[in-house]
């Protein structure tokens, strides 16, 4: 019950925020390089900082347990880079392709199918040995724990998380104050229009994504999942249900039952649909077969990459880095490297 209600509720909120905030991590990394536009990148950084503080406070209150991804450097590098390449081909990151289904973007649906197929094959199909090898041969632990920026120095998690967030915040503020950017033109519109009709600014979008993630961590803990937002495993869960996958639990073969992460996916698509309908931005968009093929292929890379690396852009960058996980930091950097290489090859060289 906690899984259904919590997953759907957080999903709907997340989908709504993603659609209104135009939150797109694929664009965030690429824009900064190709278009010299770091608007979305600032949004991502805000979301990380809000989650970093929020997670630490929840953990201190004993409401959640910090549970960073494992650290297996080989798998993070290979999986992350492939994921990054895939997301450029697919036209969106894992959260991007998921929420755009609710906007009626057919190519996003094709990418999600690709992600689900490759993700499933990597989780429990013929690609599993590759993932297992990459993960097991390069795993590094701190004692029994997965390494974080706090525990490798033997420091308290809350102290490091909040300290780091404050330091980054101050540095950023100083840079922003020195770098007198012209503030964006403010247009006065009624609150309803600002929230439901116009795209949100980067700050509002970043804070909202961060807060939804904090709520996700708490509610998923109530549902005994204990991880903030994540996308790929939810899709794989939906695939398991579709094919009637059976798991052996305590010696008995049990049909796979949907969990928090799976309902999250359904909720995201619903939330986006609601937001898009209100804003009159819903439309079935057919891009032609060539694009469908390309995004499906991109999805395949993303699925293999995310499961191998132990997280997609959401699991690593939005949820793992705020928990200070070293694995997520490397996984996140690898995704960015893969995306930049692919964007360079596709856009810069093509136009040279």
């Amino acid at each position: 019950m906690a899984a259904i209600v919590g997953g759907l509720f957080v999903g709907v909120l997340f989908g709504f925020v993603l659609q209104r905030g135009r939150f797109c991590m694929n664009s965030a990394f690429r824009d900064a390089i190709l278009l010299k536009d770091n608007t979305l990148l600032k949004s991502v950084l805000v979301a990380i900082l809000v989650a970093m503080v929020g997670f630490a406070l929840l953990a201190t209150a004993g409401l959640v347990k910090i549970s960073p991804s494992g650290f297996f450097w080989g798998a993070h590098l290979v999986g992350g880079i492939l994921f990054g390449v895939g997301m450029v081909l697919a036209g969106g990151c894992a959260s991007g392709i998921t929420y755009r289904i609710g906007e009626g973007v057919v190519s996003a649906f094709a990418a999600a199918i690709g992600l689900t197929i490759a993700g499933s094959l990597t989780m429990f199909g013929f690609l599993k040995p590759i993932k297992d090898f990459l993960q097991k041969s390069t795993t590094i632990k701190v004692g029994d724990a997965n390494p974080t920026l706090a525990n490798i120095f033997g420091l308290d998690h809350t102290l490091v998380a909040i300290g780091l967030a404050v330091i980054i915040g101050i540095i950023w503020l100083v840079i922003a104050l020195n770098n007198k950017e012209k503030p964006e033109k403010k247009v006065d519109v009624p609150l309803f229009t600002a929230i439901f009709k116009k795209g949100w600014g980067w700050l509002a979008a970043g804070i909202s994504v961060g807060l939804v993630n904090v709520l996700a961590f708490y509610l998923s803990t109530l549902a005994k999942r204990s991880y903030p937002l994540g996308i790929t495993s939810g899709w794989v869960g939906l695939a398991k249900l579709t094919i009637g996958f059976e798991e052996v639990k305590e010696g008995v073969a049990t049909k796979y039952a949907l969990g928090f992460g799976d309902y999250l996916i359904v909720g995201i698509i619903l939330g986006t649909l609601i937001a898009a309908l209100i804003a009159n931005e819903f439309k079935i968009r057919w891009p032609g077969w060539a694009t469908i093929g390309q995004t499906f292929g991109g999805g395949l890379f993303m699925g293999f990459g995310a499961i191998t690396s132990g997280g997609c852009n959401v699991g690593h960058i939005l949820s793992g880095i705020p928990q200070l996980g070293i694995g997520s930091i490397l996984g996140g950097i690898s995704i960015v490297i893969g995306a930049w290489v692919a964007a360079y090859l596709i856009f810069v060289r093509r136009n040279a």
Partner: protein, 83 residues
């Protein structure tokens, strides 16, 4: 006003998402002569907001953005002539 402007070239990126509407628009503009008009047809909300923000940085001039129903937009841009 916008119906008086005759586009030199039309780019239809409907159905395309992240990053293609932006990149295709910028690439097309780069290949055009100064003063030529590019008409962009698009239905991706993020690009509708982002393209105007970025093209001025390259020196191009946005003539108009027109909502042609739902998420569909028609954008007219005057190229700066970077060729």
């Amino acid at each position: 006003m916008s119906d008086v402007v005759v586009p030199t070239k039309t780019l239809n990126v409907c159905g395309k998402i992240c990053p293609y509407p932006d990149m295709d628009t910028m690439t097309s503009l780069k290949k055009m002569n100064k003063g030529e008009i590019l008409e962009v047809l698009l239905d991706y909300p993020l690009s509708v907001e982002r393209i105007p923000r970025n093209l001025t940085k390259q020196g191009h001039r946005l003539i108009s953005v027109e909502n042609t129903g739902g998420p569909n937009h028609r954008m007219l841009i005057e190229a700066h002539g970077l060729k």
